[in-house]
Amino acid sequence: MPVRMELLVCGGTGCQASNSNRVLEVLREEIKNSNLENEVSVLMTGCFGFCEKGPIVKVMPDNVFYVEVDEDSARKIVAEHVVKGRVYQEKLYVEPDTNEKLPEQSKIPFYKKQIRIALRNCGKIDPENINEYIAADGYMALGKVLTEMTPEGVIDIVKRSGLRGRGGGGFPTGVKWEATRKSKSDIKYVICNADEGDPGAFMDRSILEGDPHSVLEGMAIAAYAIGAQFGYIYVRAEYPLAIHRLRIAISQARELGLLGKNIFGTDFCFDVEIKIGAGAFICGEETALINSIEGGRGEPTVKPPYPAQVGLWKKPTNINNVETFANVAPIILNGAEWFASIGTEKSKGTKVFALAGKVNNVGLVEVPMGITLREIIYELGGGIKGGKKFKAVQTGGPSGGCIPAEYLDTPIDYDNLTALGSMMGSGGMIVMDEDDCMVNIAKFYLEFSCDESCGRCTACRVGNKRLLEILNKITEGKGEMEDLEMLKELAETVKDSSLCGLGQTSPNPVLSTMKFFYDEYLAHVRDKECPAGVCKELLKYYIIPEKCVGCTACAKVCPVNVIHGEPKKVHVIDRDGCIKCGQCYKTCRFGAITRK
């Protein structure tokens, strides 16, 4: 008896963290109790991306999308929907503007503008079953490439498609492949960079967890194109589920002969090995990654020579990231023109973004290049949390810049983001609202870069540290006007002088916030004020006379006795002695104490 209904449970790390494993168990138990296990099946898929509303359960073919499913609602879904054919209304997505319940995934604004190429199988197939990948045209592209195309032909398609590296730099993938192909060597390598380190970015993890074969297939095609025989997937140890699924995928692909010797009966041999990284952010830089695989310290070396000339074990090596590889098979199957028809003039196809921060719908979205920041934030993202005012969006991870409201209508592509002093990076997108202090934000990102710097070159090791110290000074209210000049000059020099991409971009958050939010810097330095009320040392506490009833509670808790006033009369804070501990603010029961 064919299965007539399937319940797809999101098995991404996010949903698993909110107990989707248990939801899956309950669904199976209940279905068994209803004697439907032969007709209805429950399976775990990759990430649906809508992490804000997880755990996700999607019922097919009915095409009903349940959100925030817990054990109890899982039982209800079986009792109502599976057994009686009635959609269980309680766990449908509710459109906040209209209060309308939306059962269909594609009608939910979060998904409306998405085009899923890299994420095509995430949430659709069982990532631990190679047959489902094959059923979804998996490995057809590899078969086509090996049996019908020359390596040059493959490179040509990828070049014409306009695919650019999705890991950060945006270098044209076909050009990179061509350079590696042209390097003469009997041994060459393909490396998949799965050392996703940008805070908040998890598209690579999602792809590895949800569709590992798409990466293996992309790697094999790249290997054929450049003439490599062996590949490494460098994945961070913090991604146990991705590693687990990759291992399964590799062994299944080997069993079917899709990895190994004489693939598709041709001369082409290719196999891959997983290398587990220790989670150093810098190992996402390709030369550092190579050093790490070789057993050396994960630190970058000077380019040129590029890995395409001298790479792993001194052999020509092609490195692409996970998302880039995941795009390859569809390009081969659907053609360069199809891919190039999506996106902007210089940035083709789609990009996966990890939407985070002060936005209603946090999650993973795959959108066509050229979509505007506003569309992502306000339509897919559902706008700013709590109806607050948008202040900036930070793209590109710790090395990106902060883009203010006036550029919200900028079509997103590599070049536009760079022109705005930010970057595409691996696709992190963090939204900030009026409560965020931009000086503090710059400090936050710089702290990350300081911690993750490999310490090799002076500019990054000492330069970033000094930048951070100046920012600390400013946020502590000790900044002087000269510090602002120094900050800008040093930031520019660090960018210009650093050895690798980390140092060459780490000052971006500083420079972009100085460019777009200079008034906030001025407020901190000149007026000793933090307009967003974030920098603790700059907070000032006031008593609102209209609200103060003179209960004396604040005066009693003040550890430095700077609150004065007679009982039943309005109190006053002597700000000169105030140590900004916030005790009065917490104690006042009348909301009479404010800080800014």
């Binding site: 009915d62 009686k84 086509k144």
Partner: protein, 121 residues
């Protein structure tokens, strides 16, 4: 071991059905089977399974078979509604597994409405 593109295609065909349900959004024919208590009591389970089997057998890959709640024709259960693109939905009554297979073959595949079983439409 896969040693040629043909062998891969064979596996693809073999497992194609596993994704049928999940590709529902891309399909333009919808077959709804009333599966409320009344429907089930009248044998709708057999009906829906027969429809699915027949759809697969006939290689109709643009049809979705879904269950639905009570359509208000309890006297005529099991009920089946066929929605073809660019035409009004047709509701059949008293669809046992035999009728079900006929509906798939004649209506869904060949576009022929089987008038004598129609309840509405």
């Amino acid at each position: 071991m896969i040693k040629s593109l043909e062998e891969l295609k064979k596996i693809r065909e073999q497992y194609k059905d596993t994704l049928q349900n999940r590709e529902a959004e891309e399909k333009n024919i919808k077959i709804l089977v009333g599966m409320a208590t009344c429907g089930i009591a009248a044998g709708a389970r057999n009906t829906i399974n027969a429809i699915i089997e027949e759809v697969r057998k006939e290689n109709i890959d643009n049809a979705v078979v879904v269950q639905t709640g009570c359509m208000g024709f309890c006297y005529a259960e099991p009920t089946v509604e066929v929605r073809m693109p660019n035409s009004e939905p047709i509701l059949y009554g008293k669809v046992d597994s035999e009728r079900a297979r006929e509906i798939v073959k004649r209506h869904v595949k060949n576009g022929e409405v089987i008038r004598e079983w129609v309840l509405r439409g």
